[in-house]
Symmetry: C2
Subunit: 416 residues, 2 copies
C-alpha cells in the first residue's frame, strides 16, 4: 500500500484549465463527407455555399391583387378610384406571356410572376372588380411595391451559408431552393469512452455487496451523441496499470478524443494520470480544477488527442464533461460557436457555493406568476446522483464570492 | 374569377389563438411503447418510476482515507494526532468482512463500503501512515462524515422520475442504476405534412418560369423531427378543391396533427380553409392572427385532429409552426412543458415591429466584449427566405408598443 498524502494543492482556475486544454489540440485537418440534404440536418458545413442562381428567378408578387403600372394609380383614393381594364391573369404554375399596357391590369396571386410592363401590385383589398372586365383601384401604389424582385432574396454569387455553420431546418430549405442535393459536412468526431474501477459492473450480480453499476459510459455516450459526436464504447477496465495503459492506448489510436472516468482523485487507486503520462507527450496538462463538483478532473493530451480523466461520481463526471468535454467536441466538430441559451430565474434564498471554487449549483425551476424561481436541489454532494436527476439546470456561483445573494436574478443553464 | 375583397378584418391575438387551438384537442389517450434504456433518450416517460431498491445499497465512503469510529478521533489535531492501528482495507469490488474495532482503522477508497463498526471516514489528506501498520490522524471527524449512507441517494419507494418527463442522459443513468432495462414511453405524435399550390415543384424543370420549389415540407419535417414528432409526408397537392379535400381527409385519418402550407391568404386561391370546413366539425377555429410574419395563419380542428393552415412563404410557415405547431406537438407528446432558454443581448438601435401585431423580428447575434448584440437582419419581409437563414434567432416586439427602444436588453430565442 502506498497512500499518497498529497491533496490537490495546485488547483487550476476553470478558465485557465479550459484554455490550456483547448490549445493543446493542434488544428488538425477535419475529414469531410458528402450527405444528401435531408440527412445533413444539424451537421457542420464543410464549405461555403455560393448561390449559382438567383432567387426568385423573376419578379414575383407578394400579395394577391392586380399587377399594374404605378403611374396609372397616381391619385387613386377610396372616394375617387382609378378604373383600369383587366387584360389577363398571371396564374401560379403557368407561364404568363401577357404585357401590362398603360391603363391595363393583370389579376395576380401571391407568388406569381409579375407580367412585363407591370411595376407594382395593388393588393386585392384595395381593388373592386366592376362588370365588363374592369377594376377600380382605391390606392396609389409606388413602383416596386408588393413585388419581390428577381435576385432580391438571393443574388447570384451570394455566400448563402458559410463553412462551420450547423445546418438548421431553414438552411436545408435554402439549399433545396438553390437546387443543391448534396453537401459536404465535417465528419463527426469519434469519442472513445471507458470507465475504470475494479468495483464497476454492467449490472449487479449476486456478489453485489461491494460492486457499483457503471453509469458513466451510458450517460457520457448519450451526451456525446446529443452534441454531435460518434461514440466508441471501450467498456469497463479494472484498476490495473497494464490494463488501463492498454485500453487508453487503443482509445488514443482509434478516436479523436478520449473520456476516461474513475481513478482521478489522489489516493490509492490513482492510476489513470500516471497511465496517461506513460502513453506519450505532453500527457497530463491539468490535474485538479478549482471547481465543485469535479475538482479532481484531469485534462491531458497525447499525440494530439485530447483526454479527459473524469472523476468517478456520475455528478462530477457530468460536470467535467459539460465544462471541458463539450467545448472540446465543439472544436473537434469544426463548427462555429453557438451561443448558449439560458433561463432567467429569481432566487428566494442565497445560493451558496464554496469560495475559491467555481461552484455549479444544481437547481429545480419552479414556474410562478412572476417568472421562474431557481431552487437548489436538496443535496449538492457529488456522491448523490439524484442531484442531477432532480435538477432542471444549474447556476454558476463565482469563485470570487462563493455566494449569490438572495433576491438575485440568475441565469440557469438547462441540463437537457 | 371570384376575387374576394375581404381582408383579415378580425385578426385574433396570438395568445387567444393559441389557447383556443390547444383547447380544441380533446385529452386523448396517448399510446405507449416499451423501449430499451439507451434508445429512450429524449423520449417522454409514460409511467412514474419508483425505486424498488435503495442507492447505495451499503454505507460508502465518498473520499479516499480511513474508516474509523468517530469517538476515536476526538481531539485529534495536526500537532497532537491520534494514532490508530490499521486493521485492514475495504477494497473496491471486493466484499469486506472486517469490523472496525475501537482504536482501529480500515484503509478505504472512494466508493468502497464502510466496514461495520466504522461510522466516519478520515480523508487521506489528514492521515499519515506510520511504520508498523499505524496511522496518525490529524483531524477529528464527526459521526457520518464522508459517508454516503445506504439509501441516502435514493430511498426504497422513492419516485425517481415522473410520468411526462423527457428522459435525459442522467435519467437513463438512474434507470440503469435501479436495474431497469426497459421503460414505457409515449409514442411520438404522427404529423402529416403537405403543401398546396399549383406552382410548387420538387425541383425546377425546364418550364421553370412560373414554378416555385417547395421547401416547406422539407423544413417543417426537419423541425417536427427535432422536437420529437414522426413525419408523414403527403407531398404537393395542386390548387383544386377535390384534390385538397382528398389529401386533407387522408391526413386527418392517418395522423395526430396536420400541417398544410399554402393557400392560406384571403384571395383567389384560398381553398384550404373551405376544404378544412368541408371535412368536419368544428373546422376552422381561427383564420388570421395579429402577428408578423404569418398573419394569414389558420388554426383548425377536425374530429379531434388539430390542423394548421400555414402561409406559403417559408418565413411565415416557420413562424406559424414555431408559435402554434411546436406547443401543439408538445401537448400531443404527453410531456411536461420544458422552460424555453434564450440568449440575452443588447440592442444598438430601436427594434421596430408593427403596432397592433406581435412582430417576430429576425436578428443576427454579434459577440462583443460587453456581451451579445442583436442586429435585425436586412430584410424582414416574409417573402425573403434569407431572413431566417441569416438570422441566429428572433426578438418578440409586443403588439402594444410596436417597438423596442434602443439600448434595451432583449431576449433572443434561437432559431436552432
Amino acid at each position: 500500500m502506498n497512500h499518497s498524502h498529497e491533496g490537490f494543492h495546485n488547483l487550476r482556475n476553470v478558465d485557465d484549465a479550459l484554455a490550456r486544454f483547448l490549445q493543446s489540440v493542434r488544428r488538425h485537418h477535419i475529414e469531410t463527407e458528402g450527405l444528401m440534404i435531408p440527412r445533413a440536418l444539424e451537421r457542420v458545413l464543410a464549405d461555403d455555399i455560393i448561390a449559382k442562381t438567383e432567387i426568385p428567378l423573376s419578379n414575383r408578387s407578394v400579395v394577391d391583387g392586380f399587377a399594374v403600372r404605378s403611374a396609372d394609380t397616381d391619385g387613386a383614393t377610396e372616394t375617387s378610384p382609378v378604373v383600369l381594364r383587366i387584360m389577363g391573369e398571371s396564374r401560379l404554375g403557368e407561364a404568363c406571356r401577357g404585357v401590362v399596357k398603360p391603363g391595363g391590369a393583370f389579376a395576380i396571386a401571391t407568388g406569381s410572376i409579375v407580367p412585363k410592363g407591370g411595376d407594382c401590385v395593388v393588393p386585392v383589398e384595395e381593388a373592386r372588380e366592376l362588370a365588363e372586365r374592369e377594376v377600380a383601384l382605391s390606392m396609389s401604389v409606388k413602383r416596386g411595391q408588393n413585388i419581390l424582385h428577381a435576385g432580391e432574396d438571393i443574388a447570384h454569387g451570394k455566400v448563402v451559408l458559410t463553412k462551420g455553420c450547423r445546418l438548421r431546418a431553414q438552411d436545408l430549405g435554402v439549399l433545396k431552393v438553390l437546387g443543391i442535393k448534396n453537401v459536404r459536412v465535417m465528419k463527426k468526431p469519434r469519442v472513445a469512452i471507458l470507465s475504470t474501477g475494479s468495483e464497476l459492473v454492467e449490472r449487479l450480480g449476486s456478489r453485489a455487496s461491494n460492486q457499483i453499476v457503471d453509469i458513466n459510459r451510458l450517460v457520457l455516450a448519450a451526451k456525446v451523441r446529443q452534441i454531435g459526436g460518434n461514440v466508441i464504447d471501450l467498456g469497463i477496465v479494472k484498476d490495473r496499470k497494464e490494463l488501463i495503459i492498454n485500453a487508453l492506448g487503443k482509445a488514443v489510436k482509434s478516436s479523436d478524443m478520449v473520456l476516461v472516468s474513475g481513478g482521478s482523485s489522489v489516493g490509492q487507486r490513482d492510476l489513470v494520470p500516471s497511465c496517461i503520462n506513460s502513453l506519450g507527450r505532453p500527457g497530463m496538462l491539468v490535474h485538479g480544477v478549482a471547481m465543485r463538483p469535479a475538482m479532481p478532473t484531469g485534462l491531458a493530451s497525447v499525440g494530439g488527442i485530447p483526454i479527459i480523466s473524469l472523476p468517478g461520481f456520475p455528478v462530477s463526471a457530468m460536470f467535467a464533461f459539460l465544462i471541458f468535454g463539450s467545448p472540446m467536441i465543439a472544436k473537434l466538430s469544426g463548427g462555429k460557436p453557438v451561443p448558449e441559451a439560458r433561463v432567467r430565474a429569481n432566487t428566494l434564498r442565497p445560493i451558496k457555493g464554496v469560495k475559491g471554487y467555481r461552484t455549479f449549483v444544481r437547481v429545480a425551476l419552479k414556474n410562478t406568476a412572476s417568472g421562474f424561481v431557481a431552487i437548489p436541489v436538496d443535496s449538492q454532494r457529488a456522491s448523490v446522483m439524484m442531484s442531477i436527476v432532480a435538477a432542471d439546470g444549474f447556476v454558476v456561483v463565482p469563485e470570487t464570492t462563493g455566494e449569490i445573494p438572495k433576491g438575485s436574478l440568475v441565469e440557469v443553464t438547462l441540463l437537457t
